[in-house]
Symmetry: C2
Subunit: 237 residues, 2 copies
């Protein structure tokens, strides 16, 4: 089992639009929310189903996916601890356009639609913070769309390794002792993230390894040379 998180001292809440809630509303959030532990591989919501509330990831990692007609999967984005998910469908008044699945054991909090909407109406700042959140999701989606349209697989793979590393690394790493690594995604999931075949990812990773850009230990990928990876990814900065 797991310990149900308390909203009061929840670090992830302070990164989300719920940071604006105070007093009785914060208490209500804490009471009304339903938390669950999802084991790796378990599904949270399904594409085409109707949203009844909103999710917040307290701990773990979630993938948001679409399934093509032939059954192939595409990973639209990765949700990190502190992120809301399932927002778009609820706000947009549409069914889910994608599914969500835990890629690590994850603690997920759920708040029903009515309470959530009540809060949005009561707290204009919460609405604004949601607008900003949606804007950033859109920016990320448009960026990824551009990569898929303009870049060859090799560049997309390097780019996604850097993207994942940025997402996965801790917020604070003062001693700079974090070893840049990716271990929550299988090769197949990496392929599904960048829109290519599993074998192509494996082959390119072997090349990256030969070129000393990365090291591979089982399913863990260590990023050894980030500047060069950026060159391969065709990223300026």
């Amino acid at each position: 089992m797991f310990k149900k998180p308390e909203c009061d001292d929840c670090l992830t809440r302070t990164k989300s639009c719920f940071v604006h809630l105070v007093n009785e509303d914060l208490i209500e959030l804490n009471e009304k929310k339903v938390c669950n532990l999802y084991k790796k591989g378990q599904n949270i919501f399904y594409e085409a189903s109707k949203p009844t509330g909103i999710f917040c990831l307290n701990e773990g990692k979630i993938k948001i996916t679409k399934i093509g007609i032939d059954g192939k999967e595409h990973i639209v984005r990765i949700v990190m601890a502190g992120d809301l998910f399932g927002v778009r469908a609820l706000i947009g008044g549409r069914n889910y356009a994608s599914s969500s699945t835990a890629i690590e054991d994850s603690i997920v909090c759920y708040l029903n639609k009515d309470t959530f909407l009540k809060f949005i109406i009561k707290y204009p700042k919460m609405a604004h913070s949601l607008m900003t959140f949606l804007s950033h999701l859109l920016e990320e989606s448009d960026y990824k769309m551009g990569s898929l349209a303009l870049k060859p697989v090799r560049e997309r793979l390097a780019e996604s390794l850097l993207y994942l590393n940025n997402k996965f690394k801790p917020d604070f790493d003062l001693q700079n002792q974090y070893t840049h690594q990716i271990n929550s995604l299988s090769r197949e999931e990496l392929a599904n993230l960048i829109g290519t075949a599993t074998e192509t990812v494996i082959r390119l990773l072997s090349e990256f390894k030969k070129d000393k850009l990365i090291a591979i230990e089982g399913k863990i990928i260590f990023l050894l040379d980030i500047p060069k990876l950026k060159k391969v990814a065709n990223i300026l900065e």
Copy 2:
């Protein structure tokens, strides 16, 4: 020259978040907005520049594009009359991540940031309608991302023809006399929309023509067999 549109009787306003404004605010919107005619090919804003306000397309068509490092263009979306654009950057507090260019002679209205934000704060409904708008943009982007990742070029082309036809066709066509056609995009722009080479588009269009799915007259593409096009596009419904 052109006639500056009046917000009062502006049909496009009623489709946008500005529908909530009343009385003196509607008057202020009408006075503060700045309208311009952009000839086909003219640019409205540039990638990486800082937004100072928001745009509303009164008449015409706009493409939103990203440029790859090698100079290749990707069309992120098409803006139709009545749509706001430049919203994401302003709301998200970031620079533009894409450029906008008229693909037909277009009348564009502009409202400065301060007035716009003032309205959002004063009218909570406007904020909610913006949230919904952003949600729908995100849904479209994620959909297109999925197509780029999962579908071969042939399917994407059929899909985009149907998508454009839906966008371009008039809201009301009671006599059902509209001839489904696409004429605002060059072959190169079609290619940039679906992430492929111009020659590939031209070749596939020739095939579609041979299969009686479309007819071609110069740069105009007529959709002849929409059900079959849906099959080629691998769309269910």
